[in-house]
Amino acid sequence: MPGCPGACGRAVIIPVIVLAALLAAALLTALLACVPGQAARMRPMLVACWLGVSLLQGLALAGGRLPGGMVAWPGVFAARPDLALLLPLGLVGAAARSLRDLAACVAAAVAVAGAPVLACMGAGWALLARGDAPRHGPEHIALLLLAAGCVFPTQAGWLLPGLCAVGTGGLLGLSLSLRVAPRGLRPFHMADIAAMIAAMSLWARLPAGTAVADMRWGGTLIVAGCLFYMTASWRALRAPDARRVLTGLAGGTGAIIIMLAGLMLLARADDLPGMASCAQRTYLLVAGLLLAGMLAARALDVMEREAGALSLGRLGGLGVLMPRLSALFALALLAESGLPPLLGFSIIWMLLRLLASMPHAAGLAGEVPLLGALAVLGVGWAVRLLALVRIVAVMLCGRPRTPRGAGAADPPVRAQWGVLAAGLPVMLVSIWPGCWLALMQGAAPQAAGTWPDLAAVALTSPDGSAVLHPARLCLFVALAGAVVAVVRRLACRTPTRQVAGWQQGAPVVPPWMVFGDPLTQVGPGNPARMLLDMAVAGATRRHAMRAYALGLRLARRLARAGAGRVAGAWHGRRVPGPVALVAACVGALMFIAWQG
């Protein structure tokens, strides 16, 4: 977390065996890229390497003594507590399938295990591995400056949170854009989870700046996080296919990460250790929530293989056609939704307590920003829930829309076990977050062989007055479900008749459309339109859109005219991108050297 004092100056230690497993994974990935024909042989070895990384790191965090000793290369590797993110990263790497995902996992491992400069290089590599490289120029420049700033924290410490926010914006999927066109919103893969882990690692090791700068950056990041959360939820609501919906949801998780970083900076600036500890625990829970994204991505991989392209305009009725896979996918969505009793709810609960305990000015003027932030966050949460209702309504409910979709079925048992195994970690973290937090915080066991934090299954608010028991909540909900299931079994003896319900007075459908007209059921475009109708009347919205388009056209014309005057001195020649990049980097380094 950006609150660990002297994060850059700690002893530099990494277990040799973990390093060896990482190197083996990187080597195998490179071999896979060179010899794609041998994929079937190499894949089990890759999975074993990544699982080994996760397991060994877990053992190291639990206080176990690993064979081979430690590597201590100052300036190359990170300190041991900062390596905790290798644990979820190993699980993500084991679940990765495509070459791009594997490359992103190796890049994220470099970002997690490396010292600041290496970490920034790893984050830049993760950006490249995710694709769309030409669009990430500002992020790369910011990462370069961040690396320089981490080396000279006394000179540029006040600027680092801003640089980190810009640099990790691409990795966390942060954007204020509401557009959902394919070039604006990329599909979700394992590489995105790896990139988020890399970004979390960068935030975790941010050196401390001045108190005033931290306070200002903290407030800015919290406000920006609320706005990012809302826009990401809106993109999830409007996205045209299932993978892009998940990209929107992951953007919301990225916004929560930014908010937590802001809260951490505020806690550090105001010297509030309780709030800082609570924010750090929430941060680690968010790392656990990324495993829900992993489950969803694995389920979508299998669904894509069985039912074809995941466009929401094509899918339908998967809940009946592939019930087991759909149940696992729904579980991942429930964890992401923030409804009880799974991990998303615990995070929302902690975030709410953190926001309420935020230091602020007394009286109404000091509280209004908090109320505004909560209202924006709440609207974002509502839109996120509606996006989840939409994907469930269109994908899992209803009737198939295409013959390929109608032919979908649950995959072979082996593939189902794979998806189930991907879902186990998030279930364990949801039920027993104390175990996850104890592991990730590197709490060493006591002499009697017990962990002090392991017994603490409850999550507490920053002031310690409010307590949440996730395990008890899960048990309570399961108990209510069991009671209702028993009542249903005892009371409903007579079978229910099933009738075809697709006609509804419409003429008989043609023989090639065996499931009826697909347009008569709920489509992916309906929820957003209904929500807009609820907020603003249609006629007013059309007027506003026309005024916006007109204003945009005028602004573009003005900007073009202004730019033409400025660029007139160069006779209309444009400066190539790489030249501008090099010039900006040289300028920034000169600035830092001058400040030093």
């Binding site: 009725g317 809940g319 009946v320 409804l339 009880p340 709810f345 709410l352 309420a356 007394a362 009286g363 109404l364 509280e367 908090l370 109320l371 909560l374 209202a375 966050l377 709440g378 609207v379 949460w381 509502a382 829930l385 509606l386 209702v389 939409r390 309504a393 409910c397 209803g398 009737r399 007055s465 409010a466 307590v467 949440l468 028991h469 008890r472 309570f476 909900v477 209510a480 479900g481 009671v483 209702v484 299931a485 249903r488 007579t494 229910t496 008749r497 099933q498 009738v499 075809a500 319900g501 697709w502 509804q504 008569t520 059921q521 709920v522 929820p527 209904m530 929500l531 609820m534 907020a535």
Partner: protein, 322 residues
């Protein structure tokens, strides 16, 4: 040491069973009385029939079960899931006493989340078959009902400022030892916000949407979905009642003092009276506030958000003045 512990546990289990039975049996009664009050306010003249809604449910239960073949497996499960989530929510909201087994889980965010889950399960029931009218009605209901999330967040923060632990059981405990008149108005505004956003009975349009959602369902599934919807409305009203009159709830100690049984009966009577009043308030909202010529769908959500914001502003302004 063991005997008092076991006695306390047994007492908590006994009270929890009684609480659940009371809430589960009375939910359709409150809905029937609420509809009668709304009819009276609209000019209708007829005698109250508290068991009318129970008869509707019994009639639906006895009908032959019919489901659309498409999505039949989802339709078979979703109403029961909604019922389970609603019952879990009802188990956490104190009715006449605290000290039930799940009282430390009675955080408003947990209760609201469980009720929201029950609501979404009912929406999925409408969407499962892929039919046009129920599906679009379900989606519209989801758009209207989902706006409780910002209200819930604001309410939780306001409640967190009034209480140390933010739970309803904590509110009741504090009401027994402290003067609640200082925060009575913000809490009443919070209760109004929750009732406006959560109780569909306060909006005629939402009721019509719900009827459309279930129009192709018959048999036990329909009865369970109807009952779950009633339970949701009643639990939201109970939450509002607990926020406004927390003093009406007692802390039981049947083992130590024998006369406490009398106070429990009194608390149950008070609960019934308060719920009747809450039904009247909801009927008044439905007749005079929400449906009085204002057909815009966002009206209810906007009003609820305004109430929650006003509660926060009042609370903070009061603190600033102190």
């Amino acid at each position: 040491m063991v005997a008092p512990f076991l006695a306390a546990r047994m007492q908590a289990l006994l009270l929890a069973g009684w609480h659940m039975a009371l809430v589960a049996l009375m939910a359709p009664v409150w809905i029937a009385l609420l509809r009668w009050m709304a009819t009276c306010m609209q000019g209708g003249r007829r005698l109250p029939d508290p068991l009318a809604h129970w008869r509707v449910l019994r009639h639906a239960w006895r009908q032959a079960g019919v489901r659309s073949a498409a999505g039949a497996q989802v339709t078979a499960v979703a109403p029961w899931l909604g019922l389970a989530a609603g019952l879990a929510g009802a188990g956490l909201v104190p009715s006449f006493c605290i000290g039930l087994p799940g009282s430390d889980l009675s955080d408003l965010l947990i209760v609201g989340g469980l009720l929201e889950m029950a609501f979404l399960a009912l929406v999925v029931t409408a969407l499962a078959a892929g039919l046009a009218r129920p599906g679009h009605a379900g989606l519209k209901a989801a758009c209207m009902g989902i706006m409780i999330q910002p209200v819930l967040l604001l309410v939780c923060v306001v409640l967190g400022l009034c209480l140390p632990d933010g739970t309803l059981a904590g509110l009741v405990r504090q009401a027994h030892v402290a003067d609640m008149n200082v925060v009575r108005v913000p809490l009443a505004l919070v209760a109004a916000a929750l009732v406006l956003a959560g109780v569909e009975e306060s909006d005629g349009a939402a009721l019509r949407l719900f009827a459309t959602m279930l129009e192709d369902l018959a048999g036990p599934d329909r009865a369970v979905a109807l009952y779950a919807r009633d339970l949701l409305a009643v639990v939201w009203m109970m939450v509002a009642r607990d926020l406004v009159w927390p003093e009406g709830i007692v802390e039981p100690d049947l083992v130590a003092r024998s006369w406490r049984g009398v106070s429990l009966l009194g608390a149950m009577g008070l609960w019934a009276a308060h719920m009747l009043l809450a039904c009247g308030c909801v009927a008044g909202l439905r007749v005079f506030v929400v449906s009085a010529g204002r057909q815009h769908a966002g009206w209810r959500a906007g009003l609820a958000l305004l109430c929650a914001l006003m509660a926060g502003v009042l609370l903070f302004a009061g603190r600033g003045a102190d």
